[in-house]
């Protein structure tokens, strides 16, 4: 994919096709950034317009993904902590309910959610997509953190309370710092859930203003003519860069977090 994105489109169709690019060709990327491209002929004009939107879409995806992660962090930490530690009626039931909502096939709730988002006049807006993505990301987030919190010995939290912490201080100064790998792993998963999501992103957005990377990629792919494979590959590369960068940066914490989450 990366190799193809650095080859001019017509060269891709030679027999045999080039295995490595013969020169560093940046035309496909320059096109995404606005430069006209001579090699591009054929294909439907709309596709080129879609490809031009790739950068905006990736930016949209990032905005939505980061917001979803922040929403998950705020709501999920409290949800997971209270289910894991605060004795209350119905905590195991609420945990079950949270998981259960995750088991529903998203296609089954597509129409109701569309109607709801429409009623709130949030169609075609990033906020609408953010809310829907958060609803999908929170269950897994809560589960990972729940397991992580459970794995912390109760006595460490007791010690913190005896040392003079209120519940909230104990959460902030002891529990959350210890849970850092779990928090990072859960956050990255929340981000990826949002970043990968296609069905709702494409259904809830009609214009480029709120279109995310996954939806734009599909639009590009669907309209792709004979001479735009290389361009499509360039779009792909741009789209996968943010998640790859994230995983590379937090590789260690993701592994630690997941190992703890699945070991229990």
């Amino acid at each position: 994919m990366v190799v193809c994105s650095f080859i001019p489109d017509p060269e891709l169709y030679q027999t045999p096709p080039p295995f490595f690019p013969t020169r560093l060709y940046l035309g496909n990327y320059q096109f995404l950034w606005g430069t006209e491209l001579e090699e591009l002929s054929g294909g439907t004009p709309g596709v080129f317009a879609q490809a031009r939107n790739m950068l905006t879409s990736v930016a949209n995806s990032l905005i939505v993904g980061v917001s979803v992660t922040v929403i998950c962090l705020i709501l999920g930490v409290f949800a997971a902590y209270s289910i894991a530690r605060v004795p209350m009626r119905g905590s195991s039931e609420s945990l079950f309910y949270i998981f259960f909502s995750r088991l529903l096939p998203s296609i089954a709730i597509l129409v109701p959610i569309y109607v709801i988002i429409q009623a709130f006049r949030l169609l075609d807006s990033l906020l609408g997509i953010m809310l829907v993505h958060s609803a999908f990301a929170i269950p897994f987030f809560v589960w990972v953190l729940f397991v992580y919190f459970k794995s912390i010995p109760q006595s460490i939290e007791d010690a913190a309370r005896i040392d003079g912490c209120s519940r909230f201080q104990q959460l902030r100064k002891v529990t959350l710092p210890i849970s850092r790998p779990g928090l990072i792993a859960a956050s990255i998963f929340a981000f990826m859930t949002s970043y990968n999501e296609f069905l709702f992103s494409s259904t809830l957005s009609n214009t480029i203003a709120s279109r995310t990377a996954s939806a734009t990629l599909t639009a590009v792919a669907q309209g792709m003519g004979r001479y735009s494979v290389a361009l499509f590959m360039a779009c792909d590369v741009v789209a996968i860069l943010p998640p790859i960068a994230l995983v590379l940066i937090f590789r260690k914490q993701v592994m630690e977090g997941l190992i703890t989450a699945f070991r229990r």
């Binding site: 010995p153 006595s155 460490i156 007791d158 010690a159 913190a160 309370r161 005896i162 040392d163 003079g164 912490c165 209120s166 201080q169 002891v174 710092p177 210890i178 850092r180």
Partner: protein, 360 residues
């Protein structure tokens, strides 16, 4: 705030669902005393300690510190310190920060924190470990850091929940004598929880023996040993455990009350109330009270050797008297034979409800 306190528990009860973990406990712990809650696992000793700490709220009953009602006061406002069985060091802080944490929470100035932590560390001999993270410390070192964390803040009371149970035997002996020293250097009220009677006997001023959420006896170690109120305390304190033989007391023969066990009858040299005659009873004899003779002597019973455990400083013999198995403790090096004669030198008589009636 005062540095030490008298702790009073009044009718303290804690239910977990239908389980009565602590059942109407009354306890008075004097200022600067070292008191141990002793009992088998599940007896409610840890729950009692956690209620003193404020980590559990009692179902009913009251807790007073120095006459002040603290039953509903949250732990961070009680100024008690606690050492946990698994140390519970904060894994994301080094030893220094672990010890300093409670001082930081109380916004003590930095230079004072440094001074107090260093002083505490010097007493506990962990000065050289202060910049290590918890995983880099050995069990005994973690224990010291946990103690340091408890002692640095000069608490009203220090609560210790089986602090020695997860370190190895040799270190445990060392830490035990160290704890005595620490209590001398930091004279605050210590409440100590353990299931190990040796720890309880050696460390405490007073011991509360607990079972099924109730306190059987609250007394000095010596009194617990020589005047156990019932068979539970009698069998829990002392090693090897006291022999308890079931039987009944019969009417006096030749002026002496007879204890009739399954396999022998023994004249009990004590006065017994008429109401206990012809009633079930338990005869208790400590292993060192089971005296061995090579030949038959008046009032002795023939016994067969069952097993012998040579423990070095003494030898523990199990003897069969019919179907009754008796434990005897003799000095090491003393010869023993396949069949011997035993007499009881010292013993206790418990009534049908297992309560102590008299000793001889």
């Amino acid at each position: 705030m005062k540095e030490t306190a008298r702790i009073v528990l009044e009718n303290l009860t804690k239910n977990f669902g239908h389980v009565k973990a602590v059942d109407n406990v009354n306890l008075e712990i004097e200022d600067k005393e070292f008191v141990t809650l002793l009992g088998p696992s599940g007896c409610g000793k840890t729950t009692t300690l956690r209620m003193i700490a404020g980590l559990e709220l009692p179902t009913s009953g009251r807790i007073y510190f120095d006459g002040k009602l603290v039953t509903d006061v949250p732990p961070h406002k009680r100024n008690v310190a606690m050492v946990f069985q698994d140390y519970a060091l904060y894994p994301h802080m080094n030893a220094f920060e672990n010890i300093a944490f409670s001082l930081r929470m109380r916004k003590v100035p930095n230079n004072e924190i440094r001074e107090q932590v260093t002083n505490t560390a010097r007493v506990l001999r962990i000065e050289h470990l202060l910049d290590r993270m918890p995983p880099e410390l050995s069990g005994g070192e973690k224990q010291r850091v946990a103690l340091g964390r408890a002692l640095v803040r000069k608490p009203t009371a220090s609560l210790l929940d089986e602090p020695l149970s997860s370190i190895d035997a040799k270190l445990r002996d060392e830490m035990r004598s160290e704890l005595i020293k620490i209590h001398e250097k930091f004279p605050t009220t210590f409440v100590y929880v353990t299931h190990d009677q040796v720890e309880a006997m050696t460390l405490s001023n007073k011991i509360a023996v607990m079972q099924n959420g109730r306190i059987h006896q609250y007394d000095t170690p010596i009194n617990l040993f020589y005047k156990p109120v019932n068979t539970f305390v009698a069998s829990f304190i002392g090693s090897p455990a006291m022999n308890l033989i079931e039987g009944k007391l019969s009417s006096p023969q030749a002026g002496k009350v007879m204890f009739e066990g399954q396999d022998f009858a023994f004249p009990v040299p004590v006065e017994v109330d008429a109401e206990h005659l012809n009633a079930k009873a338990v005869l208790g004899v400590r292993p060192e009270g089971v005296v061995l003779h090579e030949k038959e002597v008046p009032g002795s019973f023939g016994a067969e050797l069952y097993t012998a455990e040579i423990r070095g400083e003494f030898t523990v013999l199990k003897l069969k008297l019919g179907d009754t198995i008796l434990t005897s403790r003799i000095e090491s090096g003393r010869m023993f034979k396949k069949s011997m004669w035993v007499t009881f030198a010292k013993g206790y008589v418990f009534d049908a409800n297992s309560q102590l009636k008299s000793t001889f």
